[in-house]
Amino acid sequence: MAYGEKVLDHYEHPRNVGTLDKSDPNVGTGLVGAPACGDVMRLQLRIDDDGIVQEAKFKTFGCGSAIASSSLVTEWVKGKNIEAAGQITNTDIARELALPPVKIHCSVLAEDAIKAAIADWKKKQLGKLDEKQTQAQSEQSLAEAVR
């Protein structure tokens, strides 16, 4: 199978390869796919308090189209707020990379990775809220005890 130019470009010069600290509360990690299916994508987004994606990193186990799809979405999500990032669809990705029908699942996976990363970040934000609340409560009770 011959590869499209954009797939080749991303494959040979993948953008934003790497790892962010997954325990960082501002980092959302999406790990999608399965080794048994031949592709696994890990997309990590650092999202600031305004919900803007500041940094995106990926690592992907998969064919050239899977690697290109994940590389492309790291470029696309950067600087977007999470709403806009979450609206990127597999058709956008497949069209941009001119993926043939047998490779559509790669773009689906990339879309899933964005959604999973955002969901992970949101979960952490809720956790942060809970923490703040418990912290506030404990500070209050401490204050009461001192008084």
Binding site: L31, A36, G38, V40, K59, T60, F61, C63, G64
Partner: protein, 405 residues
């Protein structure tokens, strides 16, 4: 000699035509263009003479006589003719066929079709090395069994089957024995009498002959009968009608001569190159696994899994080297290789497999280049692989709940 890129290491798929084969073929395209079935003039006689001479040479490579060679368009057709032809002809005698799970699709799909027509087929399992246990063949034979079809050597993992042992059983039990001999032909010795083979599929293009020509060996003593699949002018003793492809047949015979003359030396040379390739790769990379069988293997075959690196992704990276992969991504089906699955390679590892096929024109320089190239690219892709990172962190990948998609 400077290295020429890209390097061809996919000899199981096809092989480059030997220039000596081409030379032998050329006159039969031009001045000796006759139809081998033309009885009335010298053009036909010349073509017929060339065909009959070729028959003897091709038969000679497998210990058969020329009269037992039926020309076909290739081994796919030979497999179809052997299995469907025997099944149809011996239907009165029985309705049961035995084969095994790692056969070529030409065998498996012929059997599947027969199943739809009411035949029963037993698909024997193979062991971790891809070998059929002859005792399993014996146990599977019933009084309704008409045919056993087991390949000589596998096209993905190169495993050589115990053909001689199976042949002794089928002969003793009075069951026909068909062997798809494509991958071993001309590479390692194969003799239809010593192995009690009744039908054997052959093809030219895997042994530096031309594409689109093959043969079915059909035993004469005791005589094996087949129902024809292609009807027409009654060529090839009625078993396969159609004007013979004379230049291709001449080329096939020349390829057999060349293979016979160099078989022992070539097997050793190619085997050493293969071992050099495997030693070089496993010395410089960790997590590399051999799929199949080390001991009973074609000299030119090496099927390796490079853990944490997907096969198609790797092939794209090593674009100067032509190989193939058992990864799903290379087929339209999205299913990884059924051969690897049959030998117990899990799906995850099947996705990381690469098949190297070495042959007559493979050189040591090429092997050394391939080692360097593959090592570099595997390392690059592992840096890109979340699985490699997780494995290095000590995470057991099997403990993760992956979402199948």
């Amino acid at each position: 000699m400077p290295l020429k890129l890209p390097i061809y290491m996919d000899y199981h798929a096809t092989s480059p035509l030997d220039p000596r084969v081409l030379e032998a073929m050329l006159p039969y395209f031009t001045e000796a263009f006759g139809n081998a079935a033309s009885r009335s003039h010298v053009f036909g006689w010349k073509a017929e003479e060339a065909v009959e001479r070729s028959r003897e040479i091709i038969g000679g490579l497998i210990g058969a006589s020329g009269k037992e060679i039926v020309f076909t368009s290739g081994a796919t057709e030979s497999d179809n003719l052997a299995i469907k032809g025997a099944a149809q002809f011996y239907r009165e005698k029985g309705d049961h066929i035995i084969t095994e799970r790692t056969e070529h699709k030409a065998v498996l799909d012929s059997c599947k079709r027969l199943e739809r027509e009411g035949f029963r087929v037993t698909y024997l399992n193979v062991d971790k090395e891809g070998r059929v246990d002859p005792a399993d063949v014996e146990r599977a034979i019933t009084d309704k069994t008409i045919l056993v079809s087991i390949m000589f050597a596998n096209n993905e993992i190169g495993t050589i089957q115990p053909i001689r042992e199976i042949g002794a059983i089928t002969r003793k039990r009075g069951v026909l024995f068909h062997v798809d001999a494509v991958q071993g032909l001309g590479k390692i010795p194969f003799n239809v009498d010593e192995c009690n083979v009744d039908l054997a599929s052959l093809t030219a293009h895997k042994m530096s002959g031309p594409k689109g020509v093959g043969a079915l060996y059909v035993r004469r003593r005791p005589r094996v009968r087949l129902a024809a699949m292609i009807d027409g002018g009654g060529h090839e003793r009625g078993m396969r009608s159609g004007t013979l492809n004379v230049p291709a047949i001449v080329g096939f015979a020349r390829a057999c001569e060349l293979a016979q003359a160099s078989m022992v030396g070539e097997a050793a040379r190619v085997g050493q190159l293969r071992d050099r390739l495997e030693a070089g790769l496993t010395k410089r990379l960790d997590h590399v696994f051999l799929n199949g069988c080390k001991a009973h293997r074609l000299p030119g075959n090496s099927n390796l899994s490079f853990a944490f690196v997907e096969g198609e992704g790797l092939m794209m990276a090593i674009k100067d080297v032509a190989v193939s992969s058992g990864s799903a991504c290379t087929s339209a089906s999205l299913e990884p290789s059924y051969v690897l699955r049959a030998v117990g390679v899990d799906e995850e590892m099947a996705h990381t497999s690469i098949r190297f096929g070495l042959g007559r024109f493979t050189t040591e320089e090429e092997v050394d280049y391939v080692i360097d190239h593959v090592v570099e690219k595997v390392n690059r892709l592992r840096e890109l692989s979340p699985l490699y990172e997780m494995a290095k962190e000590g995470i057991d990948l099997k403990s993760i709940q992956w979402a199948a998609h």
